[in-house]
């Protein structure tokens, strides 16, 4: 009864399935990275403030200074060959290299650097706060000659702060001629640059399809030498399980979003190796001090002792994070690496003085954050604190956090620069604690202010002696973790898995330290 045509179709379809070609290994000179890059919404470095964008900018644009892999506390020359600062501490002079060139072939000069910084200030997009942090103004940028630029800051900041800002994405150098030609309605070429590139970095933009892929091609004329890879493809792959399958088959070279079990499974494949990298990103619990119980220092202290930090890091996060208990991520200048708080539920219960607390915990409804929240819930229960989990979408949690509509939030903070000042400011600065305050950083969101610690922050910002600045930062962190409404929990580890033939890939702690210029493949 079943027509023979139907059977023929079925057999043909099966045959098609069997004869479909597989992709095989990636080409020798093409690096394929599978990752979640759906946060990429702009390619203009004056606007980029998300992970994937920062990674793009770091590979496509040069900046005056940068960092050498392995030492993320000491700025190193890039477009600037050298620099000096006058005795006032406010006037910086940068000598530029002569062999850097844009895509057009035109040499990068001091006017381009001044233009790039003035442009970012003029556009006033989200990351402009970094430039304002060192009091940069258009008048403070002076071109001495083609290879010399003077930058004047409003105060004599610690050198690390100024150089950290100039090493950040917002200070990327753009081709002023190209942007002047593309400008419309005084936008300094912004509308065009959101989807294009105008840099002098190791790579150039080849193609960008939002939520699909970002392709870069090498700049053969780069002053630091041509990269080994002719092309780098960042492929958006939302599902970690799919990422794992692709790297196991050799269709991609690097993946970075695998969960602990997937990492273990992948490492059973002899062609793969792990490259766990400590990121400048921490997980913390924010306690809203407007809550009558959480406004008490003893209660907040009880939370710090109620948590089994090592147990959660070992059994829940399993290689995705390490215990960290200070607001500055380990590896940054001045960061404290000790862990003074230990799991002691009896002490936590004593600090609560027999009171039974009942609180809500807002958390992103996604692994492994939700798993950590459940473990915290169990820890708190042992100390007599009943916690109701309130899982929601990440943006919903953030909205509640920013509006101070929560009891506790399990959150994550990633550094903007490799200098610790902006992190320290975010966790402590709260000049206006009113509901209508314009500045709503982390301290404001917990409705907590500590004028004494803020004064120490001010001193650290202006301290030009590194040893003394490190001492001040240590004091700030010690006071912050005892007095503040934050329980710092972990520092994030990014679980890169790479194919065995990949060489020279050394991703640093920030998105803009993930560089592909020195990556190569070693194939026989």
């Amino acid at each position: 009864m079943l027509p023979s045509r139907f059977l023929a179709i079925a057999v043909s379809a099966f045959g098609l399935l069997m004869s479909a070609p597989t992709d095989g290994a990636t080409p020798r000179d093409v690096l394929v990275v599978a990752s979640q890059i759906d946060d990429l919404s702009t390619l203009d470095p004056a606007e980029i403030f998300e992970y994937s964008g920062a990674e793009f900018a770091a590979n496509v644009y040069d900046r005056l200074v940068g960092y050498d892999p392995g030492d993320w506390t000491r700025p190193a020359p890039r477009l600037a060959r050298s620099w000096s600062v006058d005795p006032s501490g406010r006037l910086w002079r940068f000598d530029l290299r002569r062999d850097a060139a844009f895509r057009s072939g035109r040499a990068v000069d001091a006017d381009d650097v001044a233009y790039a910084l003035r442009r970012a200030l003029h556009l006033g997009k989200a990351p402009v706060g970094l430039l304002r942090q060192i009091g940069l103004s258009p008048d403070g940028l002076r071109v001495i000659d083609r290879e010399t630029l003077e930058i004047e800051t409003d105060r004599a900041y610690a050198p690390g702060i100024v150089l950290g800002v100039l090493a950040s994405v917002v200070a990327s150098i753009v081709d002023r001629r190209e942007l002047e030609a593309r400008a419309k309605d005084d936008d300094r070429g912004h509308a065009w640059l959101r989807r294009a590139d105008a840099g002098s970095g190791s790579f150039r933009l080849l193609a960008w399809r939002p939520n699909e892929r970002l392709s870069l091609e090498r700049n053969d004329a780069h002053w630091d030498g041509a990269p080994a890879m002719r092309r780098v493809v960042l492929r958006h792959m939302p599902e970690p399980a799919s990422q794992r399958l692709l790297i196991e088959r050799g269709d991609v070279d690097i993946v970075r979003n695998l969960g602990p079990d997937q990492v273990k499974g992948a490492l059973r494949n002899p062609d793969l190796r792990a490259l766990p990298t400590r990121k400048a990103s921490i997980w913390f619990l924010a306690l809203n001090t407007r809550h009558p119980d959480l406004g008490r220092a003893e209660t907040r202290d009880a939370f710090r002792h109620a948590i089994d930090y090592h147990g959660i890091a070992r059994s829940v996060l399993d290689g995705r994070a390490v215990v960290h208990q200070s607001m500055l991520p380990g590896g940054l200048f001045g960061a404290l690496e000790d862990a003074p708080f230990a799991h002691d539920p009896d002490r936590a219960a004593r600090l609560l003085g027999g009171r039974r607390l009942s609180l809500g915990l807002d958390v992103r409804a996604q692994a492994p954050v939700l798993d950590v929240a459940q473990a915290l819930q169990a820890n708190f229960a042992r100390a007599g604190i009943a916690v109701e989990l309130r899982p929601a979408d990440a943006k919903q949690v953030l909205t509640r956090f920013r509006e101070r509509r929560y009891d506790m939030v399990l959150a994550r903070w990633a550094s903007d620069t490799l200098d610790p000042q902006s992190d320290a400011e975010a966790f402590t600065r709260n000049a206006d604690n009113s509901d209508g305050a314009a500045l709503r950083n982390l301290a404001w969101r917990t409705a907590w202010s500590a004028p004494e610690i803020e004064r120490l922050i001010d001193r650290a910002a202006l301290e030009r002696d590194d040893t003394e600045r490190a001492r001040l930062l240590a004091e700030i962190q010690r006071r912050h973790r005892v007095e503040g409404p934050f329980v710092i929990l972990f520092q994030e580890i990014e679980p890169y898995i790479v194919r065995h033939d990949i060489r020279g890939f050394a991703p640093g702690p920030m998105p803009d330290t993930v560089l592909y210029a020195r990556v190569g493949k070693e194939r026989s």
């Binding site: 009864m1 079943l2 027509p3 139907f6 179709i9 098609l16 399935l17 069997m18 479909a20 070609p21 597989t22 992709d23 990636t26 080409p27 394929v32 759906d38 919404s41 702009t42 403030f49 998300e50 006033g124 997009k125 989200a126 990351p127 402009v128 706060g129 304002r132 989807r195 080849l206 193609a207 399809r209 939002p210 939520n211 392709s215 092309r231 493809v233 492929r235 958006h236 792959m237 939302p238 599902e239 399980a241 799919s242 399958l245 692709l246 196991e248 088959r249 269709d251 979408d393 990440a394 943006k395 919903q396 953030l398 909205t399 509640r400 920013r402 903007d416 975010a426 500045l439 709503r440």
Partner: protein
């Protein structure tokens, strides 16, 4: 003429209701849409500027009227996430969904209708049980799990099919997007490696999605055919000495086809909405994936634009099935 005007009016009213519901629900969701635009660390000035640029500082009703006015001129606004005009984004992602959904539908109809007819004809015999089991698996197994298991078996273990994506990653930059439909663009490029890769990448996701479509279509076909085969005209046809093939395929199926058209239209509509989970597992950048991302980030323009497109597709498919219904059933003419 009057009927056409009435249909058009209903079409417009339904779309208006859909946009209004989506718009106002989108505005009461407790997510700050400015965060998607400037992130969490923007300066207060940058935040205020972004809020104003989204028009959020205006009264809600004015925002809605302004959106409606723009939508009438096919200006669906800009997506916060991609910074592109929403119409441009939809034009980019929809062909991917169309390609996947259409292939899945071809498989679904091609296998589902004959399987349903066969099961009905062999009712309660092993053939019927086998078809029902296959349908049950296709209908009840989570498509996400099915996709991953399919990849594990056919891509990783057996190496018969390519992995996730619409084309080999290393070839993606070589494919010029003219129509947005991968295999067609590959054919237009004239390169054999692109054609093989584009077709190969379509096999597994369309098979997974096609199984789901096939399961529904086969079940419905079986039910409809069982009803038709028990009717008197079938008995009469057999009494006249017509062959079984002619009785079943020409007479019974022709009558079952009338309601089956609606089943197929609804299934196709669902697939064109975007199979979010299939698109996620196979890294297939289609409409469902775009809409989910937009929803989670309170990207109102993208959500509204996509809803409008999905709504239009559903209404158009309904109108089409209505027209086909009339064509196939002489009693409705």
């Amino acid at each position: 003429m009057r009927r056409a005007a009435s249909l058009l009016g209903m079409f417009g009213l339904t779309l208006l209701g859909l946009i209004a519901a989506t718009f106002f629900i989108g505005r009461v969701v407790p997510i700050d849409p400015v965060l998607a635009l400037v992130g969490d660390k923007a300066t207060p000035e940058a935040y205020a500027a972004a809020r104003a640029s989204l028009g959020l500082d205006r009264p809600l009703i004015l925002q809605f009227l302004s959106y409606l006015g723009d939508a009438l001129t096919l200006d669906l606004g800009r997506s916060v996430l991609t910074a592109n005009p929403v119409s441009e984004d939809i034009a980019r992602v929809f062909p991917a969904t169309l390609e996947l959904a259409t292939t899945a539908m071809i498989l679904g109809i091609g296998f589902g209708v004959p399987a349903g007819v066969w099961a009905a004809y062999r009712r309660d015999l092993w053939q019927d049980t086998a078809v029902r089991l296959v349908c049950l698996a296709g209908y009840s197994a989570p498509v996400f799990w099915l996709g991953l298991v399919g990849l594990l078996i056919f891509y990783v273990d057996l190496g018969w099919t390519p992995g996730p994506g619409r084309i080999a990653i290393a070839l993606e930059d070589d494919l010029v997007h003219r129509t947005g439909i991968g295999p067609i663009d590959a054919v237009l490029s004239g390169r054999g490696d692109l054609m093989r890769s584009a077709l190969g990448h379509l096999v597994l996701p369309s098979a997974v999605l096609g199984w789901y479509a096939m399961a529904y279509i086969a079940r419905m076909t079986r039910s409809l055919m069982i009803a038709e085969l028990s009717k008197d005209y079938v008995l009469a046809a057999r009494a006249k000495g017509l062959s079984e093939r002619r009785v079943v395929w020409r007479h019974a199926l022709a009558n079952a086809a009338v309601p089956l058209v609606t089943v197929i239209a609804i299934t196709y509509g669902h697939l064109l909405e975007g199979a979010v989970l299939t698109e996620t597992v196979f890294a297939w950048p289609g409409l469902g994936f775009y809409l989910t991302n937009a929803l989670l980030n309170a990207d109102t323009n993208a959500v509204l634009g996509t809803t409008l497109v999905v709504g239009t597709i559903f209404l158009a498919l309904n109108l089409l099935s209505d027209a086909l219904y009339r064509k196939l059933d002489p009693r409705l003419r």
